[in-house]
């Protein structure tokens, strides 16, 4: 039977193809219980293969907790994660960039492996839900064939690099950040210095300081385009912020550097990655984001460490090689603009144009926003949208952090045709960027950590507000509402004018879904300030909360007063008093409707919350490296079984080299990839020092590595292949034992002493 692997062999990049082959082998190893659960969990997370609600094998059905008998014959695929339970696949789209071919493939995948829906996230990713693990390699290959990877979409890695969707076309931008965002995403992907984190790392690029598109201040590393003039010459750079993040404990990013020249962008990111990897928390995941490290060290000390690290980084030509192409990296319209033809616009067009269309700085062109309710669109819609894009804008499509899609470089005279085409596929909703364009995380619909139904609430508010949209006061129309299902803030509720996050309250032993009301967040100026909670209101009463707050705003607004200023002036105390009657919950007997959530008739419960996978498992690069060695050895065994002795022999030898390199990297981070260098460094650091020696066998296992690199086998036979595989097995075991001996020193809990010990072991630059 033909497989996607066969069919696409010539269309995938070799690196991507190899990565996916490795992942497929890892699935097989875990299926056979030959790969540790936590290593596999982090491995799959780094491939964007994420758990989903109820994958722990139980669900409250409204009456009782029902055991879900998945009848799985395989081990778990993560902590409390049943093998056969469907999950979520996250797909990285750097800076939200999409082209029609990619859109077609995403639509195909949604139909064949998922539930027919593509979901745009608040990080410009695409997510597919209800995907089975066995389908993921084929899914990834089909993406790889159109240049898309899922690698490092989840887990303790650099997540999707986001950027302003108006880049290159915005009137207020300093310059187009797209080439820099692309270069950063490519550089950090799979880079060794971004692999040893205790938690995720988020990067964003913004073209200006005033608008919210890049949301720099909520990022681990937020960059805002800047120009410096010296000696009459302008040069490009970025204002760099570090240590921002939402989550349960929101931090505003701190100004790290007023002007970072573009030549320094990648090396500085790398130095930050190294410092975070070396000193960031690894054990306590609740404090493992870089914001806590910056807070703990203080910005000055963090800056000093980064600069020190930067000085000793080995030069990498990729830091600047992409800059040569930046000036020519400019989008070109599919077609030249022409004059209007005077045809009367279709019904609904004017309102849509008013809210969904942005006039580009390039005369005659606009950006049209396709507003997606809850960030969802069906495979049918996406495929047809790809057709529209092909016809009108070519490759100029992007997702946005507001869970929409924009079509760039639309000729102004094509707008009526675009509107009519979108209308035909149900995608011509007006109100983009207004109060009805509500952002929501997945919440209890699919997230294992969700407390309340963020999507249910968002949909209710959207439907309710949409019916009055035309009559709404302009000041209210322009407010932003964002909803998170829990305090983890994936819906970015802190940076909305009106935000909500899900909580629970217990009344007479019954649980009531509530939302904390968060007011006064600033969306503009790259999320300039965060809102604060003023109290929790039952979920079903939140529409009334929105009505009361917006009514008061209309009534008591002074002149052109902004909502944030209004909240500040009125005071949260008064606003809370306005809502207090809504906070009183009648008994279950009096009003049971409050005891269930939006869109879910089951009586509300907290018992469905599972173990989160947002952070992934903390797996050290050393564990990853030794696992890679084992996987290579497994491939050697398969080749041996298939009678390809030369291949089996070389894979066996390569497995040892991988294990040796892994150990060497603990001391010498920049060890070259050449086998001679690895073997030589291993000998110097681990063999000659006897660190690798076994108590009884002495240096015997080390010699297993040296011999085949001194002299290749003269003859590749079943015997020679078998022998090297057996030796490789022992060498890898000895590497594990060596790691275990080093472990108390290197990976002990982060006490002050062990922190010192880690820093001593891995000096900046790591050369010694």
């Amino acid at each position: 039977m033909t497989t996607w692997k066969d069919r696409l062999a010539d269309t995938m990049g070799p690196d991507l193809a190899r990565e996916i082959d490795i992942f497929e082998t890892q699935i097989e190893l875990r299926r056979q219980d030959k790969l540790e659960e936590k290593v596999f969990a982090e491995t799959r997370l780094r491939k964007g293969v994420y758990g989903q609600r109820y994958d722990n094998g139980q669900r409250h059905d409204g009456i009782e907790v029902q055991q879900l008998d998945y009848r799985s014959e395989y081990p778990t695929k993560g902590v409390e994660t049943v093998w056969d339970a469907p999950g979520m696949q996250r797909i990285k789209m750097p800076f939200g960039g999409l082209n029609p071919d990619q859109m077609d493939v995403l639509a195909d995948l949604a139909e064949e492996y998922s539930d027919g829906i593509c979901h745009v996230t608040t990080r410009q990713d695409i997510q597919l839900h209800f995907v089975h693990l066995e389908d993921t390699p084929s899914l990834m290959r089909r993406l790889a064939a159109v240049g898309v990877t899922t690698h490092e979409a989840c887990g303790n890695a650099v997540r999707n690099v986001t950027a302003c969707p108006l880049s290159g076309a915005c009137h207020d931008e300093v310059f187009d950040v797209t080439p820099y965002a692309r270069a950063a995403a490519q550089y950090m992907l799979g880079h060794p210095d971004f692999q040893d984190f205790g938690r995720k790392f988020k990067v964003s690029f913004s073209g200006c300081a005033s608008h919210p598109c890049g949301l720099a201040t909520i990022h681990d590393m937020g960059l805002i385009a800047a120009i410096r003039t010296a000696n009459g010459k302008e040069s490009r750079g970025f204002t760099l912020y570090v240590g921002g993040g939402l989550g349960a404990v929101p931090y505003q990013a701190k100004l790290f550097e007023e002007f970072l020249p573009v030549e320094e962008l990648l090396p500085t990111a790398q130095a930050i990655g190294r410092v975070f990897g070396r000193l960031g928390e690894k054990k306590n995941r609740a404090r493992a984001r870089i914001k806590f490290l910056v807070d703990k060290l203080g910005l000055e000390e963090f800056r000093r460490l980064v600069r020190e690290e930067r000085k000793v980084l080995p030069e990498d030509p990729r830091w600047t090689s992409y800059l040569e192409g930046v000036s020519s990296d400019r989008e070109r319209p599919l077609q030249a603009p022409v004059s209007r033809n005077g045809v009367p616009p279709p019904e609904g067009y004017d309102l849509w144009k008013k809210t969904n269309v942005y006039r580009q700085k390039q005369s005659g062109f606009v950006i049209a926003t396709v507003a997606l309710p809850l960030g969802d669109l069906s495979a049918y819609q996406l495929r047809n949208l790809a057709g529209i894009a092909r016809r009108l804008v070519g490759d100029h499509v992007r997702t946005t952090v507001e869970q929409n899609i924009v079509l760039r470089w639309v000729r102004e005279e094509d707008l009526p045709e675009l509107y009519t085409s979108l209308q035909a596929i149900g995608l011509a909703q007006p109100g983009a960027g207004t109060i009805i364009d509500i952002t929501a995380c997945p919440g209890t619909d699919t997230c294992k950590l969700g407390i309340a139904s963020s999507r249910g609430l968002a949909e209710e508010l959207r439907t309710d507000l949409a019916t009055q949209f035309v009559q709404l006061d302009e000041a209210v129309k322009n407010l932003r509402i964002k909803v998170s299902g829990c305090f983890n803030s994936c819906g970015q509720h802190q940076v909305a004018d009106i935000g909500f996050y899900g909580v629970s309250r217990t009344i007479d032993r019954h649980k009531v879904p509530h939302f904390q009301v968060v007011l006064g967040g600033q969306w503009t100026e790259n999320a300039g300030s965060y809102g604060q909670a003023i109290g929790a209101v039952p979920s079903k009463r939140i529409p009334e909360v929105v009505r009361r707050i917006t009514d008061r705003y209309i009534r008591q607004r002074q002149g052109e007063e902004k909502f944030q200023d209004f909240i500040q002036r009125i005071g949260k105390k008064v606003l809370r008093e306005d809502l207090e009657d809504l906070m009183v919950v009648p008994s279950y007997e009096k009003d049971p409707t409050l005891y269930s959530d939006w869109g879910d008739p089951r009586e509300f419960t907290m018992s469905d919350i599972g173990t989160g996978e947002c952070a992934g498992e903390v797996v050290t690069p050393l564990q990853f490296g030794l696992t890679a060695a084992e996987r290579e050895l497994f491939e050697a065994q398969i080749q041996l079984d298939e009678g390809d002795f030369p291949k089996a022999w070389h894979l066996g030898r390569g497995a040892m080299l991988q294990a040796a390199k892994t150990l060497v990297r603990e001391q010498f981070r920049d060890v070259p990839d050449e086998p001679e260098a690895i073997v030589s460094e291993f000998k110097k650091r681990f063999f000659d020092t006897k660190i690798f020696f076994d108590k009884y066998a002495g240096g015997k296992f080390g010699n297993y590595l040296f011999r085949p690199y001194e002299q290749e086998a003269e003859d590749f036979t079943d015997d020679t292949a078998r022998k090297i595989i057996a030796e490789a097995q022992l060498f890898i075991e000895a590497s594990h034992a060596c790691y275990a001996r080093l472990e108390p020193e290197q990976v002990a809990p982060m006490t002050q002493l062990s922190r010192l010990s880690r820093s001593t072991l891995r000096k900046p630059g790591g050369a010694q």
Binding site: L68, E112, P373, G599, D600, P601
Partner: protein, 195 residues
């Protein structure tokens, strides 16, 4: 024919009478009652806000049931995701049986104004695998011939099988119609015997 992934859809007689959201409590109750045999019922997904989409869905380990509107004709669709055993004919009959079991439950639902009325002279078969069954005349012919081996006996007459024309990237879809409405309880009995 090695097609494992496919879907079968039965259409509603009068879709205007149904608010798709009315299915949400129904599907939740089905989960409580484990209402569909041989399926592990997991959850309900509401995509009724997406036009031309799968609507309200009942997710199961084996596949999903949806009040589908992706071809702009509302109907109950069962999309099989897990492999089934046997020949193509046996697999088709297993998927058809699950579809019709859900159809019968919906037709008898008191919560839905006494039950939904289905158009029982038409089925849609959607090949959900572009590798094994691309949307081509050749694939259509292969499936049509396969169906021809067992459908007349199963449905009690020669059905008309037509390739639903669409863009090449759309999934291959076959419309199967019979001159008179099928006797669903009788057909379910025959399918039970065949399994």
């Amino acid at each position: 024919m090695d097609l494992q992934r496919f879907a079968i859809k039965v259409y509603l007689e009068d879709p205007s009478k149904l608010d798709p959201k009315a299915l949400i409590p129904v599907f939740h109750r089905w989960i409580q009652q484990r209402a569909i045999p041989d399926h592990l019922l997991i959850d309900v997904a509401d995509y009724s806000h997406v036009p031309h989409g799968p609507g309200v869905m009942l997710m199961t380990r084996e596949g999903h049931f949806s009040l589908d509107n992706s071809d702009q004709r509302l109907g109950l669709m069962y999309t099989r995701k897990q492999p089934t055993e046997g020949s193509f004919g046996e697999r088709f009959q297993a998927v058809l049986r699950a579809t019709l079991q859900a159809r019968q439950l919906l037709a008898q639902e008191a919560e839905l104004s006494g039950g939904l009325v289905f158009k029982d002279d038409e089925l849609l078969l959607v090949a959900n695998d572009r590798l094994q069954a691309p949307n081509t005349t050749e694939s259509f012919e292969t499936i049509r011939v396969e169906l021809g081996r067992f459908l007349p006996g199963l449905l009690g007459g020669e059905p008309a099988i037509v390739h639903v024309k669409s863009q090449p990237r759309e999934r291959l879809a076959l419309s199967i119609t019979v001159p008179q409405a099928l006797d669903i309880p009788g057909l379910l009995l025959r399918l039970a015997v065949a399994s």
